[in-house]
Assembly symmetry: C2
Homo-oligomer: 431 residues x 2
């Protein structure tokens, strides 16, 4: 169906298609780029204020990323962990949502350029575009492996892994079959650990009875970590526990092992070749590229260094939040975590409501978790560490209640309860 | 990743890659093509028998088609109404599932050819490949409209409809905006009626608060039916009730109206042009083409005429079930309904277990339903007809309990209960 979505005639050098939703705001316009934890919390904190707020995202939903690995492993459905941004902000009448792709930030004219030719003018700019996986300069590895940032990624991994089982079932060559049934995961942080545990459970239990020629329980799962232990951000004891628990699920954990090459058929690591049908990359992250044009200081992961009030030094009312921000607290850089992003978003939103200078942001650690198996998790809170069933239950409670939407909480709780009782991975659809 | 999935050397003219799962069966091989209601019921009825049964489908899941329109309208998630075929047949140790695409039936050599070069030899063949939409000779209309047969179709419709709202929100030209907010549905059978009702609810209620420039409640929904009333297969009173209820949801129902043309920008019907951003086709069905090579008699919809025992006259142990079968009972052709297919599959499976000739099949009508809105449905049972809230509840109970998997029943019931209380359409994801 034809025609451009908009018919404004461009008339002057200054002319552009203003995509700002038609709302009034006495104090001016705030544009928030990114509807993740930071951007959404900021928009929600600004609800009912006298700013005119526009939240821009290239997707129509907020995604609960900590549970994304459960979509990739067929335990949850995409809609269980994603909520339309418009729905979350429906009652914030001073906040509009725009679905679009930001291509550039024009600081001189104070507007965000969009891929469709439109633009969003701003008085205050909040950048919360997040991070993506980095391949340490080996961009060719990106196409040979899967990584997990979006719902489309999770669906791709789910379909690919399930298809590999189907191909193995149809295959009569033992060597090729073994390759199809080998999964290599690169990166021993929370995402790598959670993927390894969930895939082991899928293969060892949920699919146990499903095939006639292959035994999915024989699936080989290799978790490769360059550093000396798993979950480097957690206390050492919990990293050791993760290694131990994964080993009991027959996951091969390889520490101090660097990946040297990834090709179509497998991985080369520490001199050994692993022939694999599935390669998952969960190793390093770097900032999304949109912020690159800003005149600001960046760290090695391209995160933008921000002042204590989350503003970018030297720029006029430009703020950076979440994974995109490099902020030190007590001598350490704040980690790329949902709770950091959420607290920053809420803080900035509240400070912008006020008149006068913004207070410095301070992160309050609510504890950090990773799930290893159905009844096994680690939970680190300051110097405290929990593991095993207690941590698993804590993790469940914390995550269910972090879900932004009440309906999701109900449904996800019930699905977990059900899976706890039955071991079922019910979302095993090949797209 | 490279290599063929199978390395059998083709050695003679007869050689082919046998894809049959390695199972024993004293009485021989049954191949069932299609894992819909008919094929699945047949396979389940043969579980534990001394046949070696292979169920072939090009998808890895059984789909509960009567609820597919709820995925298309963002009320349910794909995994809520789809269950992996392997999972449903996991405990039937004499039944294997093959994911693959049948391209031809070789009756002389008694095998089903697969797209990947493999084949499935059979002693008994059961064809249950179902139907697809027909465009009355206008194949070009297929690419200009959406129809609803698979999960991929439902997801496409959902994304397209939601994107149209986004485009309308970004659009400042009133004429183009009105076009984007117009949905035309062709075909006033159950699917057309259910889509019209569910889309009206989505637009009038669920999206009500979400936008700032457009009012989704103004969405124009036009339902076009060539015949004199909606739901032609139901008693006249219920068709009239459907028209009345849809009109109260501000759906424009146009009866006795033939579609003359579909182009990129809309529909031409009974001399009138309707400019539309979304065109949904739910008008006519015809048989899937796989059966075309069989030497059999076909009706106008290309369905294969079968004998009372569901076999194809003149062929040796070839049976046809479900939407693909043309079978008359008491002077009328049995309709293309899930319950007909399911009863036929179960009947044939039971008869094949026995020795001796098969008994004729007889359809027992359990009543037929269509949902028009949240509290409005029609339910026809023989000469009885129910409408309104009672029919809606009957529909809910019947459909939830027809769902083949217990977990799905629980989840779908809870989601319905939740939506009944809140009006939410929670699966509003744009892919």
């Amino acid at each position: 169906m034809t025609g451009s979505p908009d018919n404004h005639p461009p008339s002057a050098a200054e002319a552009y298609l203003d995509r700002t939703p038609p709302l009034a705001g006495r104090r001016g316009r705030i544009v928030i780029v990114g509807g993740g934890f930071a951007g959404l919390a900021c928009a929600q904190a600004l609800a009912g204020s006298d700013w005119q707020v526009t939240l821009l995202d290239r997707r129509n939903h907020h995604l609960f990323q900590p549970l994304l690995y459960q979509v990739a492993t067929a335990a949850l459905s995409p809609a269980d962990i994603a909520v339309p941004l418009r729905h979350l902000l429906a009652h914030a009448r001073n906040v509009g949502t725009v679905l679009g792709d930001a291509t550039d930030i024009n600081l001189a004219r104070r507007r965000v350029q969009l891929a469709d030719g439109g633009a969003l003018p701003f008085d205050v700019l909040v950048l919360a575009t997040g991070s993506r996986y980095s391949f340490f300069g080996r961009e060719d590895w990106r196409s040979r492996s899967f990584s997990l940032k979006s719902i489309a990624d999770a669906r791709r991994i789910r379909s690919h892994v399930l298809k590999r089982f189907e191909e193995a079932e149809a295959c009569t060559d033992p060597e090729r079959r073994a390759q199809l049934l080998t999964i290599v995961i690169v990166g021993g942080g929370p995402t790598g650990v959670e993927l390894a545990g969930a895939l082991a459970e899928l293969a060892r239990w949920s699919l146990k009875q499903d095939f006639r020629r292959i035994d999915p329980a024989t699936t080989r799962i290799v978790l490769i970590e360059a550093g000396p232990r798993l979950l480097a951000a957690f206390p050492a004891r919990l990293g050791d526990y993760a290694t131990h628990t994964l080993s009991s699920l027959k996951v091969e954990v390889r520490l101090n092992t660097k990946v040297e090459e990834i090709d179509e058929d497998g991985v080369q690591a520490a001199g050994n070749r692993i022939s694999a049908g599935t390669i998952l990359w969960a190793a390093g992250i770097c900032a999304e590229p949109l912020g690159e044009s800003l005149p600001a200081t960046r760290d090695r992961q391209k995160r933008i260094e921000v002042a204590a009030d989350l503003s970018v030094p030297g720029l006029d009312r430009v703020y950076v939040l979440g994974d995109l921000a490099h902020l030190e607290q007590d001598g350490e850089v704040l980690p790329a975590l949902a709770q950091v992003a959420q607290q920053q978003g809420r803080h900035l939103g509240r400070e912008l409501r006020k008149d006068g200078p913004a207070k410095p942001f301070r992160f309050h650690d609510r504890g950090d978790t990773a799930v290893i198996g159905r009844h096994a998790a680690v939970y680190a809170f300051g110097r405290w560490g929990f593991k095993g069933r207690v941590a698993w239950l804590l993790w469940g409670v914390v995550h269910v209640f972090l879900l932004v939407d009440f309906e999701k909480r109900m449904l996800v709780s019930l699905q977990w309860l059900w899976r706890y009782l039955t071991d079922a991975h019910s979302a095993r659809l090949i797209d």
